[in-house]
Symmetry: C2
Subunit: 219 residues, 2 copies
Amino acid sequence: MKRHFDDELADLKQRILRMGALVEAQIRQALSALVDRDDLVANQVIQNDRQVNTMDVEIDEICLELLALHQPAARDLRFVTMAMKITTELERMSDLAENICECAIELHAEPQLKPYIDIPLMAERAIKMVGEALNAFVREDSVLARQVLNEDDYVDDLNEQIFRDLLSFMMENPHTISGAIRLLFVSKAIERIADHATNVAELVVYMVEGKIIRHMISP
Amino acid sequence: MKRHFDDELADLKQRILRMGALVEAQIRQALSALVDRDDLVANQVIQNDRQVNTMDVEIDEICLELLALHQPAARDLRFVTMAMKITTELERMSDLAENICECAIELHAEPQLKPYIDIPLMAERAIKMVGEALNAFVREDSVLARQVLNEDDYVDDLNEQIFRDLLSFMMENPHTISGAIRLLFVSKAIERIADHATNVAELVVYMVEGKIIRHMISP
């Protein structure tokens, strides 16, 4: 029985990793769609969100089955319940990738305001955080998870800077307002992706250490 | 043993309701802070967010203890695991109330752009959705939960309308841009509160019917 349960836990972990890999790809492609002004890619990301949703539901069902059949305790119990929370975070990231693509498609209808520099930079950091949070999860590494928490400030600062830049841009050229606001939404969506990565990292710390740190470390 | 477990479930439900009531009050006060231009109330809401966070952590710990000690099955298992997800949704709503207050404080530093009409209207609807979702949870009423899902479109439409209004406002008077963008963020935050209420309603349907409807009904 125990062996069997371990196999199922390993399978669950693999499924979460596959979902995480797809979500990472979604975010990466959303940025490509924006930067390359590629509606085809944008629509692809919007389509793929369904696959992420299906994975979310499947993983929840597997977790409930594991809880009902094996009644895990201590760390295993934390693993399964945190898995249910982690997939919610991943699913929300995919929603945000979809939102970025919707903004991208609207932006492509107008000439590009200016070259995108800070937004891709910020997105790179957010994607790195997502990858690290998932690595921390698979390796059950709370040290790495805590590193992710520290990176969130950098993304927040970049978002603030982008906000100020776009604001002065709009004030100088009021005809850019509509486009600049879309970019503001994109920037905010990336910041929220980083927040979700932070949430995953906090859940990993709890899973490994049994210590709830959310609402404590993050400002 | 069974009687004891039922008591603990009833206690858990009470705690979630208390947390829900506090979150509802947070959202309501955030709107008062905005409309009445009252920084004192805004700072109060920001302070109270800590209390919501504490409740979130406490409820999670109680749920894990219930799972470990009583190993519930079927509907009870769904109740406890969905409780863990519902409190996350509530906690995020409180974060958004806090965000609204931060915007409100910034807005109070400048003269008011225009009377607030649509934003309080939208907030009322969002708060109603939160209250109904919590009622559906406490009554284990999936019919009421499904009603909540239908109301989200109205809030989304209002948000779209506010967006368009603010956009034309900014284009006509570029010196209003900074304030109008804060209002845009407030409107978006309310829309997200309604989204979280929708999430709670979907979790209630699952809790009652054992049927995962998220990613299916909502657009």
